[in-house]
């Protein structure tokens, strides 16, 4: 029987460690790798230009890699439910493969596609490689419910078998056995779209910081490991002002899109640790970043309301304020607090901010100062943040707003003090809010307190050239602590501080 395979890329945009793709190649006559994209949808989706650019670059990278293997990427315009029937017929598809998506929406969509494939006589093969572990297994081991504290999660993971070892990348030999007929007009029909085609006006500014794609991801991984080896230190790094700027070894967006396999990252860290420490096995804390990702994926996999407050069984119902004007100021970096505004500016310009910066702006928007719902913040991050996917974004926002996961709400980040302690030099502010660059360090985090002479000398008058602070932090944090207490004291499980 002739096997014609289609591998459907969604996340997992890579050729290394891709068992589903391997399965597509297995004994197949032809293999076509597709990515389905609806350009009409691009404008209305809550996705900013940086995320689109990253995705398109990742697709270009896949296409380039596939070219070297005498194949191409097929970017098909449309929606999966419309596209697949057409492709099944046109290409006589007998096998469809893709990487497992554990998110509720993904599971629903995939169930429908699998059913449809069956109707067309197409066998499907799904492999779980976007996460280290199978979320259902973790849930099963926790008495059939997802762990809701990180410590509990770690305890369960400790008892699990190690993640599967990653597979090598697709080889020439493997591909040579399958052929893909590439038509003359492939670029026209199935080429990777440009940002312009999706409706974005790019003013030729390609000085962007995060370049998408598997090639870039693997290079960064090497640099990341080199740096760790050089530092020879696996402890949590102390945050410095430098940490706030985009790192050439940062990996989170690549993990999100699957340009880098999380297992490859995991085992590379493992090997490096063993080599340098010559010890028996690494502590769980070595994989901190990866495990947080797993934690949120597991917490969200069976909860379609994970990204809402209402109807979400794990989310505390908090009487957030509804204030579009205040939300806009926060989202656009016009709060009048340079630390917050610089972070939101970096986020909008580049698509990535350090995790402590995320804590600062999330706290400011929700329980710290503005008392606006975490769902609003989550949507802004969804649009702008390269590594924000559904589970991790929603979970982090609930965590940071003390809406779930049994958080202590006493800890409030000060929009002036926290910034000053993190970056005493003020360079971060100066880079992202150039208007304030001539302010002395003493006042750059709170320009409204600078005497008029200083403001004039810096050529930036508060209230004219830069906004006044939109709230009084002391007053608001006092109020908000009271609000949180009111909510929490009505919860039976509350055992906390702040009487």
């Amino acid at each position: 029987m002739v096997v014609n395979s289609v591998h459907w890329f969604r996340k997992g945009l890579r050729l290394h460690d891709n068992p589903a793709l391997q399965e597509a190649l297995n004994g197949a006559e032809t293999v076509r790798c597709v990515y389905i994209l609806d350009p009409w949808f691009a404008g209305s989706a809550n996705v900013g230009v940086n995320r689109w650019r990253f995705l398109l670059e990742s697709l270009e990278d896949l296409d380039t890699s596939l070219r070297k293997l005498n194949s191409r990427l097929f970017v098909v315009r449309g929606q999966p439910t419309d596209v697949f029937p057409r492709l099944f017929k046109e290409w006589n598809v007998t096998r469809l493969t893709f990487e497992y998506d554990s998110e509720p929406y993904g599971k629903e969509r995939d169930a429908a596609i699998i059913k449809m494939a069956q109707e067309y006589g197409v066998e499907t093969a799904v492999r779980n490689t976007h996460t280290l572990y199978n979320p259902d297994r973790i849930i099963e081991m926790n008495n059939h419910s997802p762990p809701l504290t990180f410590k509990r999660f770690q305890a369960i993971v400790n008892r699990l078998e190690l993640p599967r070892k990653p597979l090598p990348t697709i080889s020439q030999e493997q591909m040579a056995r399958c052929q893909t007929k590439i038509s003359e007009n492939h670029d026209e029909r199935y080429g990777v779209p440009s940002l312009e085609e999706l409706g974005f006006k790019t003013h030729g500014d390609s000085s962007h910081v995060w370049k998408g794609g598997e090639t870039e991801a693997l290079e960064r991984l090497n640099k990341h490991l080199d740096r760790k080896a050089w530092v020879a230190n696996f402890e949590r790094p102390r945050i410095t002002a430098q940490s706030l700027f985009a790192s050439p070894t940062g990996l989170s967006p690549y993990l999100r899109f699957g340009c880098l396999s999380c297992r490859v990252f995991y085992y590379n860290l493992w090997e490096l640790y063993m080599k340098l420490r010559r010890s028996s096995s690494p502590p769980l804390s070595l994989f901190g970043q990866l495990l947080w990702r797993e934690f949120f994926y597991t917490a969200g996999t069976n909860n379609p309301n994970f990204d809402h407050m209402e109807g979400n069984p794990i989310c505390v119902q908090i009487p957030w304020d509804h204030n579009p004007e205040a939300l806009a100021k926060w989202a656009e970096g016009r709060t009048g607090f340079p630390w917050i505004d610089a972070i939101m500016t970096q986020l909008r310009q580049e698509g990535w901010i350090h995790h402590l910066a995320r804590h600062a702006v999330a706290c400011f928007l929700t329980r710290g100062d503005l008392w606006i719902s975490w769902e609003s913040g989550m949507k802004v991050f969804e649009e702008l943040l390269l590594d924000a996917d559904w589970s991790v974004n929603a979970g982090s926002w609930m965590w940071l707003s003390c809406s779930a996961f049994f958080q202590q709400f006493f800890h409030c980040y000060c929009p002036v003090g926290f910034g000053r302690r993190t970056d005493p030099s003020g360079d971060y502010i100066r880079r992202y809010i150039p208007k304030l660059k001539d302010y002395p360090n003493r006042y750059i985090f709170e320009p409204w307190n600078a005497p008029e002479s200083v403001q004039k000398a810096a050529n930036c008058i508060v209230g004219v050239d830069y906004p006044k602070p939109m709230i009084n932090h002391a007053e608001n944090s006092r109020l908000n602590i009271e609000r949180m207490k009111q909510v929490y004291q009505q919860l039976s499980h509350y055992r906390g501080l702040s009487e």
């Binding site: 009487p319 008392w371 719902s373 006493f410 800890h411 409030c412 302690r421 002391a474 602590i481």
Partner: protein, 444 residues
């Protein structure tokens, strides 16, 4: 599932059938399920009719209705006249919480305007424990005042005005608010508990409160009421000798106030909450004499003194210079090492300490001193601070099992030659006598 399980105390009643004219008076300590069981199991007398829900006596209905949320109760009241009457029994209208929200400013539902009208018409003289939850819109605060103004037949025991978001009461014209509030003060005459934080209440209205309710007032919460002066609150302390709980801002605190609260005529104070909030940087705060605090402790040896500080680091000058009987201390912003050192020296009654932020120098010495001198400390929370692992273990060892709440952000603990992060939680758990981990934040 036999009824006889419950019958040991009241054997003869369990089998008694409910008669049509409802003469039975059920025990008030039965739960609703017990009553239902009784109805469902008719006795073996022959010729008895099956139980008729319509015959359920009012008292039982009342009891059941008390367990129902308001909406369900309202639906039940539509079933028949009898149930409708039960719905309107005064006992069901003693407590009410008015929720006033506008769709434009809140996601929450609001109490239906028709229901509000009904309550004012039929039940205002039944109301005793009332609260208003308002969102950040002025309309909601106005609506609250509107209702308050109509509560002329009310004799309230408790009143709470609660802003769930921004304090919208502050945006009302002051006179409008005061006149509404005064209606309650004048008509109630037996107010025991009053929560009016973040409102434009002023000295004259406090005088009215005192003139009518001085014998009964036990609790007064008025943090962040900028129109009240120290003299205004002093009047309350002087006249309301039953006052047990008081919450206010630091600028209202005075030596005279503390002495008034410790006068012989005054009951023991149980709870004093003080918010110290900085309006402008470099603000000067007055000091309270040690002798005033001493008088308080002598008079009310068990009272809780809860202090919340929202100050800039350099505004702590007047504080913690002398011994102060604070029990719960909360630093909402950054507080310096030096001030924490003074806290260790001068707060022997300290039970709970929360430090949101300090800085980048380890607090080792300060924590050890607190462990030494604050023998009652049972809860501590540390945010953006630094403590070396060794000093932290020492601290926990000294406090031992009295630490029931230990909430430390993971970033606070600095590993040293003795302990790494992975080791420290074992050490600490050992000394605490229970499993302990630091608080974590996602590093994604």
């Amino acid at each position: 599932m036999s009824n006889t399980q419950n019958s040991s105390l009241r054997p003869s009643r369990m089998k008694r059938r409910l008669s049509r004219d409802g003469e039975d008076s059920p025990s008030s300590c039965e739960g609703p399920t017990d009553s239902c069981k009784r109805v469902r199991q008719p006795t073996v007398d022959s010729g008895d009719l099956p139980p008729d829900w319509a015959c359920l006596p009012q008292e039982i209905l009342l009891h059941i209705f008390q367990f129902l949320p308001l909406l369900d109760r309202a639906f039940a009241s539509q079933v028949c006249r009898g149930w409708n009457e039960a719905f309107h029994m005064p006992e069901l209208w003693r407590c009410f919480e008015f929720e006033l929200n506008q769709p434009a400013s809140s996601y929450l539902k609001a109490t239906h305007p028709d229901l509000i009208k009904q309550i004012i018409k039929r039940h205002s003289n039944h109301l005793q424990y009332v609260s208003f939850k308002v969102d950040s819109s002025t309309e909601s605060a106005e609506a609250a005042c509107d209702i308050l103004s109509q509560l002329v037949n009310c004799s309230l025991k408790t009143l709470g005005l609660i802003s769930t978001a921004r304090p919208s009461f502050m945006e009302l014209p002051k006179s409008h608010f005061i006149s509404a509030l005064t209606v309650v003060f004048v008509n109630s005459k037996s107010l025991s508990s009053l929560k009016i934080d973040d409102t434009p209440v002023d000295d004259p209205s406090l005088k009215v409160l005192v003139a009518n309710n001085s014998d009964t007032l036990k609790l007064l919460k008025m943090s962040s009421c900028p129109h009240v002066s120290p003299a205004g609150i002093l009047c309350v302390a002087d006249q309301c000798h039953g006052l047990r709980e008081l919450a206010l801002n630091y600028h209202l605190l005075s030596d005279e106030l503390l002495l008034a609260l410790s006068s012989e005529k005054h009951v023991h104070l149980e709870h004093l909450r003080i918010d110290v909030v900085s309006e402008n940087p470099g603000q000067q705060f007055h000091t309270i004499k040690k002798s005033s605090w001493d008088a308080m402790v002598r008079h009310s040896p068990k009272f809780n003194l809860v202090m919340y500080f929202f100050l800039y680091e350099d505004e702590f000058g007047p504080f913690f210079r002398d011994e102060i009987p604070v029990t719960h201390l909360y630093f909402g912003r950054s507080v310096s090492k030096e001030v924490l050192g003074r806290v260790g020296m001068n707060c022997p009654r300290l039970v709970e300490l929360v430090v949101c932020a300090n800085g980048l120098r380890p607090l080792d010495e300060e924590l050890i001193r607190i462990a030494e001198r604050c023998q009652h400390l049972s809860a501590i929370g540390l945010g953006e601070c630094e403590v070396s692992c060794s000093a932290f273990v020492e601290f926990v060892k000294m406090c031992g099992r009295r630490l029931s709440q230990l909430s430390i952000m993971e970033e606070v603990l600095i590993p040293d030659h003795k302990y790494s992060l992975d080791e420290i939680h074992w050490e600490v758990s050992k000394h605490l006598g229970r499993v302990w981990f630091p608080d974590m934040m996602p590093t994604w």
